[in-house]
Amino acid sequence: MNFLVPLGLLGLLGIPPILLLYFLKLRREERVVPSTLLWKKVIQDLQVNAPFQRLRYSLLLLLQLLLVALLAFALARPFLALSAKQQERLIFLIDTSASMATKDAGPSGHEARLDAAISMVKKKLEDLPPRAELSLISFDQETTPLVNFTSDRAQVIAALDKLEVRHLRTHPQDGFEVALAQSEEHDNAEVLVLSDGCFDKLSLQRLLGSEAAGNTEQISQQKLNRFNFVRFGDEETDNVGITSINADGMPVRGSDGTVAIEYMVNVKVENFSSKDQEVTLRVSSENGQFAPFFKALSLKGRQRDDASGAVSGALDASYSEEAFKLPQGTTGVITAALVSHEDNFALDDAAQVVITRNEGLKVLAVLSDDYFLVKALTVIRGVQLTQMAPQEFLDKWSASGPTAFESYDVICFSGTPPPTWERGGALFFDALPPIPEYLDKGEVVEFPKNPDWNVRHPVMRDVTFANVDIARAHVWGVPPTATKLVIAPGDKVLISSFENRDLRVVACSFKNNETNLPMRVAFPRLIENAVNWCAEASPRRHPLSLLTGMPLILPRAVESLDTTLRLPTGDVRPVKLEPDTRTRVSETLHVGLYTLDAAAPYGRTWAVNLCDAEESDNAAHGAVHIGDTVAIQSSTSSIQSRHEIWHWLAFAAMGILLLEWCVYHRRLGL
């Protein structure tokens, strides 16, 4: 047992005065007896310890001494050391992901998990020896080393005070790896993982690196033993949340031939609690363009496996996918929110989507003679097709550059490629994409047999190359990161797709009139898929509805423009729009609306949502699983290094005081 205030033991000095007073003020009642002869015999043996014999049966004195001793001990604030180890170096690995915003932790049970973790770390700092060195790492989608090993408590506390929940998903692997690396560099420092454990199991192989395969299980265990997991939050949750929202536009051609988009807002609501929940979903427009939709949902509870926390039972009854058809012409922010329901995790109780476009895809076909391609593009629903001769295109390109074609979502080149292609979506038929590492090998393949095709790529959805003959095709070298969609024997790529941050292209190395593909039903499907996939890279199609952690891509301006971006937190951040590049803002750390304060055509609003079922499934896990075999169980003993017991001593002292009162007044004797 140790004492926080050893000076309190000075209270024990109160015992000698009590003993002194006892002996000095002991008033014995005189009692005349016929003879002390027999009394002497009786106490003969007791007189051997005469000084203590007086004390032995004086219950009141004993109670008084005990009372003083207990009070003295209570003043000294004794505590039981719960952790045998006195950590010299300690790494705090703190989870700051979205689920840590759940308000079900702390002594009250209504404190946010991260706040409870921070409080506990601060308490732990008081218990550690002054020379102990501490490291602080936070992890969510990213891993951020906040404080490297230092014994400066103020620095650690300042870093803790700045910590806040980032509405991001959890990727703990990097955090664990960084912590393990730090631990190995600093005398195998202990790692305290403060989290709710709401993430999938970690990769043992990645965590231990190449050693994992070669090392014995004992060594692996030795390394992992440095990790101590302290769980925050309940293993039971009452959360119901929106885990998905999108607005799908369906082109509708008007009587005048113009194409408009009718939007369907799809919302997925999931119940993550074990109890059945009744919630009402409301879908409304920011500017009141339509009367809000209300939909009452009855969601079944989920049953979890106690050991692993995995969800079992009928999942399909625990969620509901609802679609709301918006009136034609609706634009702006559409908000889906759960009303008449309150849970401890508010981040997923609402989600928003921004609708800005109300027109179909604009496709430019640069070709001179490709009947089948034009026909296939024409039949795609909602596409506004424009045809342009290759020479005209090149003239315009040389006159105005690529900005002259930014009004198109997708450009299809047949036979003639553009001089360069750096951004946007494009289809290339018998035209080598002007993209680095796309090379013409100068070979030609004729009637390749049994081509293989990638059915998993969106471009190849519902497309088959069986019974497709190709009379002649070029053999192109493709970038290593390109996806080979159709391959002839000998690894000769016939169709490939390539995408990077700015562009999406689909390249086809044969002419449409040198194959029977256009005669197949797969052809219009392939063209539609390719157009839709490439349109995602269109500057006009940069999404305004994002998930947290995804970057905001600001528009290019004609001239450099300094403006501001308003964040959901109310903060305003200065941003600069450049003419040559699109500014990216990656700090979408909070759900809500991000608004670029600029005049048209630059001003716009983004809706950033959590929409992550893993974060919404915020029932805390009792263990962190690493690989298939290792589970670090949650234990508070590693964070609670002491347990004060002064209050129990105070209670005991009060009890003894009461007992003394009874003895005194009833004159009880033992």
Binding site: E29, V33, T36, Y57, S58
Partner: protein
Amino acid sequence: MPEAIEPRTARPLLTPDFMAKLEALGLVSKKILAGKLRGERRSRKKGESLEFADFRNYAQGDDLRRVDWSLYARFERLFIKLFQAEEDLSIYLLVDASRSMDYGSVNKFDYARKVAAAIAYVGLANLDRVCLNVYTGKKEFVLNDVRGKQQTMKLFKFLSDIQAEGETDLQSATKRFLLRHRRPGICLVLSDFLDPQGFENPLRALVSARMDTFAVHVLAPEEVEPNLTGDFLLVDAETGERLDVTASRRLVENYQKTVRGFCSSLQQFCAARGVAYLFASTDLPFEALILNYLKRVGLVK
């Protein structure tokens, strides 16, 4: 007006009714003891009572009035007719009047002198010789050779006038008593026997002097089962010696055990030497003691 305190000496020791009951009793000795005067008890000696004892040949000088002339007519020889002699009985009452006897809600000394008075009265009523020895430490109050009921008041006054004082010294008291009284008799010792020098020697001396000894062990109930809890300063009534005692339940139990052991050892000592032992707690009415318990031990009939 406060009630006048009646002097203790004026209080009668025995009530007339009880005295009437006592007159029907007589003291019994297991031994036939030689008396000093003619009394009402049969003696080993041949005497002049009406009870025939034996014949013997006539010797010169015998009283001719005792010759049995009928036998002379038959045997033509002279025979003297012998009769049982009747003698008185000596009753010795040794009463402890030390300070230790002046204790108890029913005072031990009062109790002892009432018992002594009753026994003495029985003796007087039977023309026995009663000797009262009341010893108080070094001092001794003696009333010798009282005989006949007319001495009753004198005896009562003698007992009433004595105050308990001094220390218990059974041995010296017995020694002085035996020096004065060599004639055997019934010796009744009334004491608490709380003598630091022990009770063995005095009782042994009485037995050696052929006394038919009765030990009446007088104790107050407060002595046997003291009601003590807490811290006490016990003061010895005789010596004034002080003893600090923290009276726990265990200590009191040990004391009670010691008292029982003390009584038991006295009883065993008496039984081994033919001394009748009678434990007399002062909460026992002394009339019951005389009429019932003393009968049981064979002192009275």
